[in-house]
């Protein structure tokens, strides 16, 4: 007996559930619904056939398009991750991730927002270079964030003149700070250049499901600190010294300037005579890049 969803909301939910359900290995809609009903019956409950297609076939079009679209979108945002794990493994990873975290936003931009935490928890999808894959995913997600997160007015000279050690500063939202286990930033840059070159040569790049994992040089763990950020509508990344990363991170966490500086040099091996010049240069660079701004008033109100 077929059950017909009665309200518009019920129809929308049933449609969304069907559309977002993973395809079969042959990229077709699954024949059976999660509740055991035949999908042909489910489809017929809210979709009319036309002269050429029955309800199942019409619904299958949307099911397939959803998956082709989201898989392509994820691959576009994580080309280096795809290169490292290989095309086939990346597709399995993507299907598993998108099944756990289906698209919930009007924008495909947000599709990979939970990939890092998911990848950390599911190492079996990343192969033997799991930690490197996590670092690469973090860099690539940072690029997405740096690309379009907010930019506010940087600190003015008048505002700087009022600062002391107890002042709290803020960083531009688009400045993404990364503490990596590997020096994966150079690897990502090389893989992106390769990806771009292949795209240019091919005109349009197809989703490379059969690509083998990229051959990588031997990688040793080496703590690496990177900032991804935006200048004039382009995304850049910049290596940071440990002290620079720790100071920026402390400022982002809302520590007063004096405490942020102490946090930056905790356990530092940098000789003390060098530190003042180093601090002056790094703050000068941040100011020139417009990274430092005043905290929003709400963040200063203690609750």
């Amino acid at each position: 007996m077929s059950s017909h969803p009665t309200s518009l909301e019920a129809i929308q939910r049933e449609m969304a559930a069907a559309v977002m359900r993973p395809l079969t290995a042959d990229e077709e809609m699954q024949a059976t619904a999660p509740d055991g009903r035949a999908m042909s019956e489910v489809a017929a409950s809210f979709i009319a056939p036309n002269s050429r297609l029955d309800a199942f076939e019409r619904l299958e079009i949307y099911n397939r398009q959803y998956w082709f679209r989201v898989l392509g979108a994820l691959a576009e945002d994580f080309p280096a991750l795809q290169a490292i794990v290989g095309g086939r493994a990346f597709e399995a990873l993507s299907v598993a991730y998108l099944t756990a975290h289906p698209s919930r936003s009007f924008s495909l931009r947000n599709l990979g927002s939970r990939l890092i935490e998911w990848l950390v928890a599911h190492p079996q999808f990343a192969g033997r270079r799991h930690r490197l894959a996590v670092d690469v995913a973090r860099i690539e997600w940072a690029f997405v964030e740096a690309f379009d997160l907010a930019e506010r007015e940087p600190l003015t000279r008048e505002q700087i003149a009022t600062l002391d050690g107890d002042s709290r500063l803020a960083l531009q939202a688009h400045v993404q700070l990364l503490a990596l286990e590997y020096a994966a930033d150079d690897l990502v840059l090389k893989l992106h250049k390769r990806d771009k070159r292949q795209t240019s040569e091919a005109g349009v790049k197809e989703y490379e499901v059969h690509a083998a994992p990229a051959k990588l040089p031997g990688f040793r763990r080496r703590p690496t600190w990177v900032a991804a950020h935006r200048v004039d509508n382009s995304v850049y990344y910049r290596r940071l010294a440990r002290e620079e990363f720790l100071t920026l991170n402390a400022l982002r966490r809302g520590l007063p300037l004096g405490e942020a500086l102490s946090a930056g040099f905790a356990d530092s091996r940098m000789p003390e005579p060098r530190r003042a010049g180093f601090v002056r240069d790094m703050f000068s660079n941040w100011a020139e890049l417009g990274w430092v701004c005043a905290p929003e008033l709400e963040s200063l109100i203690k609750t």
């Binding site: 969304a16 679209r69 003015t156 000279r157 771009k196 003390e272 000068s284 020139e288």
Partner: protein, 104 residues
């Protein structure tokens, strides 16, 4: 001693902030300087440019749109339209707004 060291670092930080802000302000204010020259100094400090952002917009539907010519695909054909219009252009969500959810 520790307080003195901290005071030196704080002074260095503030003088760095003033110096960098002055440089940035001078670059912005220079009317005769072309934008490309103005930003080149900034770009030098920016680090390495991310190479992937000039790619064409997402086009994964290409060649896979099985519904074409079969009917029943009007909405599906246009489902991608407008959803990635900012991709590759930069700085398009600078109000920091969060996207609305379309599912509960």
């Amino acid at each position: 001693m520790k307080n003195r060291v901290n005071a030196i670092l704080l002074t260095a930080a503030l003088s760095g902030l003033i110096g960098g802000t002055t440089v940035a302000a001078a670059q912005t204010a220079a009317p005769a300087t072309p934008t490309s020259v103005k930003s080149s100094a900034k770009v030098l400090k920016a680090g390495l440019k991310y190479a992937g952002q000039d790619q064409p917009a997402k086009h994964s539907c290409k060649g896979k749109n099985d519904c074409k010519g079969q009917g029943g695909c009007k909405t599906g054909d246009n489902g991608c339209k407008g959803k990635n219009s900012c991709k590759g252009k930069g700085g398009c969500a600078t109000d920091g707004s969060k996207p609305e959810l379309f599912l509960a």
